[in-house]
């Protein structure tokens, strides 16, 4: 993991959707350094995409109210409660890739035009130059015969190809930070691996920081430098990838790791975490995982603080580190 001051840091983001009793995202802090891939993992509805949208300033105004959160990007600080993330940052120095490549391209324009549009918007170059840049980007993301594809419409592309186009579009302006929201979820497994490799290669070449949002631990193991595990709108554990996989400390992370099916070892029933994620209306107070946690005790009704359990490894659990928890549990 490159040791630098973070490219992007987000501190204590809290936001609530209109008409909901509790915050969908509460006190979420993240940081990514240049050249680093941070994976945000969690189940559907745990707030990971919402966090990304807030970073991009893409939350629909009026639907969500941001109670707190300061984003520092490349030395510039934005108070997310007041400042709108400027639109020239989006698509310029911060780029985003979405989950659904099939519907993320405008069906009525040729893909070349769509990439060129983003280039023109941010660099103000001529149409011809923007077109050349689009061609270069299509080649860069490994699409065959890019000269031909430039003038084709999105419906003529497969899902994997479209995701490559989305990546080309995102990277056309040399962003410093890439936010990828489940970029491979809609793709089948072989394409998934190709796209992940592509993102990783491009990221290595350009040295940009990357936030990858996913629910797939396989993806995490494949690409992450650091990991933040989210549950119910809180970050429950964060740290270097190997630490999280080999030495998980939060009961939820432990459950997640245990539930990954393995090819080696004796065949046995898959381990699962009991229960389901409570709906936002029934979120418990304090630790939001306590309704499903084997170690839950009375103290869990208060919010646990982030406890450092190792270098850059912190856990939001009253019983961390794990040894202490096992002792308590007997």
């Amino acid at each position: 993991m490159p040791d630098q001051s973070p490219l992007l840091s987000l501190s204590k983001l809290s936001l609530r959707f209109k008409g909901q009793p509790v915050c969908a995202v509460e006190d979420v802090s993240l940081s990514v350094a240049a050249g680093e891939i941070l994976c945000v993992v969690g189940e559907s509805g745990c707030g990971k995409s919402v966090t990304a949208m807030a970073l991009m300033g893409l939350l629909p105004p009026g639907a969500a109210e941001i109670h707190g959160g300061v984003m520092t990007f490349d030395g510039q600080a934005f108070d997310l409660t007041k400042d709108r993330v400027p639109s020239d940052l989006r698509g310029g120095r911060i780029a985003m890739i979405f989950q659904e490549p099939m519907t993320s391209l405008n069906p009525v324009f040729r893909v070349g035009e769509q990439i060129a549009e983003s280039v023109q918007r941010h660099s103000g170059c001529s149409r011809g130059d923007a077109r050349l840049r689009s061609l270069e980007m299509l080649r860069c993301v490994g699409l065959p015969s890019p000269e031909r594809l430039l003038d084709q419409y999105p419906h003529q592309f497969s899902g994997g190809q479209r995701q490559r186009v989305m990546i080309a579009m995102a990277l056309a302006n040399d962003p410093r930070l890439l936010i990828a929201d489940e970029p491979t979820t809609a793709l089948d497994v072989t394409i998934q691996a190709q796209i992940l490799n592509l993102i990783r290669d491009l990221q290595r070449d350009t040295g940009m920081g990357t936030i990858m949002i996913t629910h797939d631990l396989g993806v995490v193991a494949d690409v992450a430098d650091t990991v933040a595990v989210m549950y119910g709108g809180h970050i429950v554990e964060s740290g270097p990838m190997t630490e999280i996989f080999e030495n998980p400390q939060h009961p939820y992370t432990i459950g997640l790791m245990a539930s990954v099916p393995r090819l080696s070892g004796p065949r046995q029933r898959l381990t699962t975490i009991n229960g389901t994620v409570p709906s936002i209306r029934q979120m418990p107070s304090g630790c939001r995982f306590r309704t499903r946690c084997a170690f839950a005790a009375e103290t869990c009704s208060t919010r646990p603080a982030q406890a450092e359990v190792g270098p850059d490894h912190s856990v939001a659990c009253h019983f961390a580190p794990l040894e202490q928890m096992l002792k308590v549990a007997g």
Binding site: S104, F109, S118, G128, Y153
Partner: protein, 289 residues
């Protein structure tokens, strides 16, 4: 750039592609031919060798079609062919301009209401509903009467009466399109709202608007006929198909040709615009092949 041009040389330019698809669409071509024919007739009226459409001939009242008067004469001896040709101007103008007015006012309002929502949508929608509560023709008659009888005022009245149709249609379409992922990704690449509306929302809501517009041209031609009948549209003695038809209904037994030709013309023009609209929609949609 040279490289790009060379490599894409084998691809037909997009204009060719749309035209090619349109040409392959036989009913669309028929529509195009019909509309072009009537447009040409309307434009060429001043130079065609036809009698003055207002010249009366009391010696040739309600004559059946003959070599002298190919479409016969009307109740005061005017040449029906000549009046048909000059009337094409009024009818096509009324159809196209009034729908143009409705589209130019209605589509932007619909896009604003649909995209921004909130109070601005509430204001626009309530006004639209208030206008829609009055029947189309009644509203047009009221407006035309208020503005004063002339063809121009009739077109304005019909245009305003048709506007709520386009506001509502556009608004509904925009509400569907604005939640599409590509609109979100347009925002994610930092495009300003102006560009999102013009390049991402508008082209994607256009097809149904195009079809509605061609259908409404037909309605507008008929509305102009009704207004002319009431004396609120084309002023006599200048001809329009509507006013001819409405006079002719008094002589259906004695001189059926007086009603026949304007009726056929309205039918063909309306059909032409409908076929044209269908064909355009298919040809402009890059997803259909």
């Amino acid at each position: 750039m040279a490289l790009v041009d060379q490599d894409t040389a084998d691809l037909p330019a997009p204009e060719n592609r749309v035209w090619k698809k349109f040409r392959g669409h036989s009913s669309a071509m028929l529509g195009g031919v019909l509309v072009t024919f009537f447009l040409a007739v309307a434009l060429l009226a001043p130079i065609l060798p036809i009698p003055d459409p207002a010249a009366t001939d009391w010696g040739a009242v309600r004559q059946a079609p003959s070599a002298a008067h190919w479409m016969g004469t009307d109740e005061i001896g005017r040449d029906v062919l000549s009046r048909m040709i000059w009337g094409a101007q009024a009818s096509l103008l009324a159809g196209v301009i009034s729908v143009g007015i409705a589209v130019i006012i209605g589509v932007p309002l619909g896009i604003i209401a649909g995209y921004f929502g909130g109070w601005i949508d509430a204001v626009i929608s309530r006004c639209t509903e208030a206008l829609l509560a009055a029947p189309f023709l009644i509203l047009a008659i009221a407006l035309a009467a208020f503005l004063g009888p002339s063809l121009t005022n009739a077109m304005i009245a019909i245009g305003i009466s048709a506007t709520p149709l386009f506001i509502r249609l556009t608004r509904g379409q925009v509400i569907n399109v604005k939640v599409e992922d590509y609109v979100e990704s347009a925002r994610a690449i930092g495009l300003p709202t102006r560009l999102i509306l013009s390049r991402y929302i508008f082209p994607n809501v256009l097809p149904p608007i195009l079809v509605q517009a061609t259908l409404t041209i037909a309605t507008a031609i008929i509305a102009e006929a009704s207004l002319s009948f009431l004396g609120l549209g084309q002023q006599p003695p200048a001809p329009s198909w509507g006013s001819m038809l409405n006079t002719a209904k008094n002589f259906l037994n004695q001189a059926p040709w007086m009603a026949l030709y304007p009726g056929i013309a309205i039918f063909l023009v309306v059909l032409g615009f409908n076929l044209l609209g269908d064909g355009l929609r298919d040809a402009l949609d890059p997803r259909e092949h």
